[in-house]
């Protein structure tokens, strides 16, 4: 069955255009078609959050979005937040506070955390735990993930104050 659709999307600021079957899942588009392999496939059943990306300003699990739904969308993945030469504050903070062990969930964690801090720049520990509840980590027990996010929030706020 060939019912490919012409799809256009912006991923990490770059325009992408291609033909795809509507049923293709966004996570597969990102990883296999666009070679953007930061978002991971953990459970592929909408539970674990490893595939989290920001789609039109929302944190979404890209395993539960058809590529056709994302036609015209603006998408940010972990690759759009920072890079090895210039880490995002959250990436620095996860490194500093051991917010990861195996690292598999980390891209989804940080992508989700970036949106959380955008919506709530001064979260309490409870806010962080509640706001990160869609991301599962099987190594850390979450303590250091929460610590990393809270530390990144303070740092971002301090930088904002210094700039003012």
């Amino acid at each position: 069955m060939s019912n490919k659709k012409h799809i256009k999307m912006t991923v990490n600021g770059e325009e992408q255009e291609f033909l795809a079957e509507p049923r293709e899942l966004l996570i597969h588009t990102l990883r296999e078609r666009l070679n953007i392999t930061g978002p991971h496939i953990g459970c592929e059943t909408s539970h674990c959050g490893a595939c989290t990306v920001t789609l039109n300003g929302k944190s979404v699990k890209s395993c539960t979005v058809f590529v056709a739904q994302a036609d015209g969308a603006d998408i940010t993945t972990i690759e759009g937040l920072g890079n090895p030469d210039s880490l995002h504050v959250l990436q620095e903070s996860f490194k500093e506070h051991h917010g990861l062990q195996c690292g598999f969930c980390t891209p989804g964690m940080i992508t989700r955390a970036s949106k959380l801090l955008e919506e709530n720049p001064n979260p309490t520990e409870e806010d962080v735990r509640f706001g990160m509840a869609g991301n599962i980590c099987r190594c850390t027990g979450y303590q250091n993930i929460v610590k990393s996010i809270l530390a990144a929030a303070s740092e971002m706020n301090a930088a904002k104050e210094a700039a003012e």
Partner: protein
Amino acid sequence: MIPAAFEYYRPKDMAGVLSVLQEHGDDARVLAGGHSLIPMMKLRMAEVPHLIDLQDVEGLGGISVDGDTVRIGAMTTQHDIIDNAALAAAAPIMREASLQIADPQVRYMGTVGGNVANGDPGNDMPGLMQCLDATFTLVGPDGERTVEARDFYEAAYMTDREDDEILTAVSFKAPKGGYAYEKQKRKIGDYATAAAAVLITKTDGKCSAASIAMTNLSDTPIWSEAAAEALVGTSLDDAAIAAAVAAMLGDIDPTDDNRGPVEFKRHAASIILRRAIETAWSRA
């Protein structure tokens, strides 16, 4: 985890939606947030040859609070509900319940329309809508009609909605008095083992009106008129609450599943309802 191929439509208006529904009947389904339908399609438990994405259809979004009338467009997400100050003021139970649905990512996508129209006994909004005595607006080839939430659910995934109709909005009168939405679940993201929506009005120290609905304890939501009646006229002493809980237990019909045996669910339902009544009363 790849679903069967389908034709994809993204109409801009209701006429476009209805024409696909009419042409393809039950081979066509509408897609709102997709967080119930897409997992089912991936498991190939739902086959949808014609998928109609509602994201661009005009007039399906928006929350309006006009006097004491609340109207919520079908494509309004749980995230939108949590974020809406006017709604939180008019009907705080909506926010309290929405915060207990799924997880943050799912709440950005999951919609009121999908939640109420899907007919999944695990969804939280159907019971909540029955508690609020909400009205659903449906649009089909013959125009618009309304159905009471309390008359909408027939069995699991079976509702009063026809295949060629879509649910476009829910509306209800802003509730007065105390409220509570209590939910017992195994973990974040799970459906309820038991959930209760309770509204209570207090006049001169006594309960003057109440509404109680239970979720995931039957193949439809259960609006328990008997449970509410057990509270009315009392000052919610222990005996009145026990009578309400007993009446609720007479109305639910849970089944054994991976959330536990029937006895456990009845136990959980009792605890959850008691908590919800006590919280609602304390806020009344």
